[in-house]
Symmetry: C2
Subunit: 325 residues, 2 copies
């Protein structure tokens, strides 16, 4: 197993007060990493505060330690530790930052440019992998809640060990976490399957509205404004809706339109692993962004025009690749 | 890591010809275990045949080795090896069994009573865990297809590392399999997410038809005969439909009715982990079977009568438990 930057380990060993922060809209990895790090450092006598954006998503409000978030009890810190934050501007932090001497940046996004005074940036599946190692290097034993928090980070950032970011080491760490007697089965169900009835209904309608076009290579679906309102608003649209289309056999590009305000659509694009079209180019054309396989943007015109644009670009990309082969 | 029965290891070392069989309607673990075992034994010069029920489910038809299934080239075997078969009657085997000297039984179901001359029965997540160890004890190196086959067994029998059967050792084995350069991400997508458009449509309708009863503690849904026919028949009803209900927050029991013939319903019952009702009792009452959290049966009367029976039994079970606490 690789090691965490020894300068960070030494700095933590030799100092007392730390403020833990993470990115805006914290996800399972942000919260899990923060909880495990904070609880661990408290165990070796450090003075720890957290400043983390609330409210925590209901599915992730799983740890007693969350009760101690945002109780700022110190005026000054030896260091702020930013976990899982690819850029400084993406951190969630007090408007008036308290005094601190150093900024420690621990992150697993390779695009991170190293905004800290001390940095550990490494391309692993989840930030929780790095926190696991850091605690191990500091000889801090885990407890059930810490193991649970690290598992939450890994499980959510890997889609339960299914994404291409998983490595041998991801499973080695999971094997260690299984030595703590937590019910990971029930946790997995909560993290990956549990939905409210409204979330399920919106999912079901998105499935029902799917249409296949361009010889069944492109799927699109729409949740219209009144449907979204009927089931409690767009807060009840679960992320997995965007992935339905690319899991249909034969489909290369999936388009999901959510009419969040009247005639204003939030659009998600997904491409399967062998798709010739880079969907981030479509997203950028409409002022959005993303990756070649997953991108998004806001759209305010006729749906038909958008579908024609995507079909056109898809067929050109496919044709170009066919001629190159 | 525990070891496989040394008598089995010695018997394999000292003999040449083996017929590999598994259970009827082979699933991912049955096929994955068979492929990895058979390919492995061929690597050390053994004469291997397979007798396995065809056709293989499309999602599982992933291995070149499947091309060699059911090509019976020997008249006599030193042993038949049954993998993943909890009982002898559940095996799929030739009507006229060829001659064989011994029967080796390798299985992970604790209910297995040891019908072989040599038995290794151990309660692990997937039979593939046992095959991994057996190959390791025989010093047989894996190749990509074998690693892929073992991963398929583990991933399908654990719901991608989410079921309560997962242990530290399950992840330790996965960590080893990741040393072979296979795309487990694409494999996981195929095993756990890919559906045909018809399967998705039926899933979506099942979601849309969900009704919550008994103060939202019980969900039920129906796929009626004409809907099932419209989307190509019950072969297109995916297994995960039965689990929708118990993944709705607050629901304890989920009832799924599939009208497979006119007025004949295949019923699946699921209970969440804290449910007071043992759903296998309902299933047995109607001539079916299963476990306390997952059971099924065939039903031929009015749906309302069935719902009343389940609601009644559920409330009694809950009341009884409340009074005991």
């Amino acid at each position: 197993m690789k090691t965490i930057n020894e300068k960070i380990i030494d700095y933590i060993k030799n100092h007392q007060g730390f403020l833990i922060i993470t990115h805006q809209k914290p996800d399972g990895d942000a919260i899990g990493s923060s909880v495990a790090l904070g609880k661990g450092l408290k165990k070796i006598g450090k003075k720890i505060n957290y400043f983390i954006q609330m409210p925590i998503e209901q599915n992730l409000n799983l740890f007693d330690e969350i009760q101690t978030f945002n109780k700022i009890t110190y005026e000054e810190y030896d260091a702020v530790i930013a976990v899982d934050c690819s850029t400084w501007s993406h951190t969630y932090r007090p408007k008036q930052m308290p005094k601190f001497k150093e900024l420690i940046n621990i992150d697993h996004h390779i695009t991170n440019e190293g905004y800290g005074n001390y940095n550990h940036i490494e391309n692993v599946s989840a930030n929780a992998e790095l926190i696991y190692r850091l605690l191990d290097q500091l000889n801090i034993p885990l407890d059930e809640e810490m193991a649970d928090a690290l598992y939450t980070g890994i499980s959510t950032d890997t889609g339960s060990f299914q994404f291409s970011n998983v490595t041998s080491e991801t499973h080695e760490i999971a094997a260690q976490l299984y030595k703590y007697p937590f019910s990971y089965a029930e946790l997995s169900r909560k993290l990956h399957h549990e939905k409210s009835i409204e979330q399920f209904k919106l999912y079901g309608i998105a499935v029902q509205n799917i249409k296949l076009i361009n010889h069944n290579t492109i799927s699109w679906t729409l949740l219209d404004y009144s449907t979204i309102q009927q089931y409690g608003g767009d807060i009840n649209i679960s992320d997995d809706i965007a992935n339905i289309g690319v899991n249909i056999k034969g489909v290369d590009v999936a388009i999901t339109l959510k009419e969040v305000e009247k005639k204003i659509y939030r659009v998600s694009l997904r491409a399967n692993s062998e798709c010739a079209l880079d969907v981030s180019k479509i997203a950028k054309f409409y002022g959005g962004g993303g990756h070649d396989k997953a991108a998004g943007f806001t759209y305010r015109s006729k749906i038909e025009i958008l579908l024609n644009k995507i079909v056109g670009d898809y067929n050109i990309a496919k044709d170009k690749r066919n001629r190159q082969q």
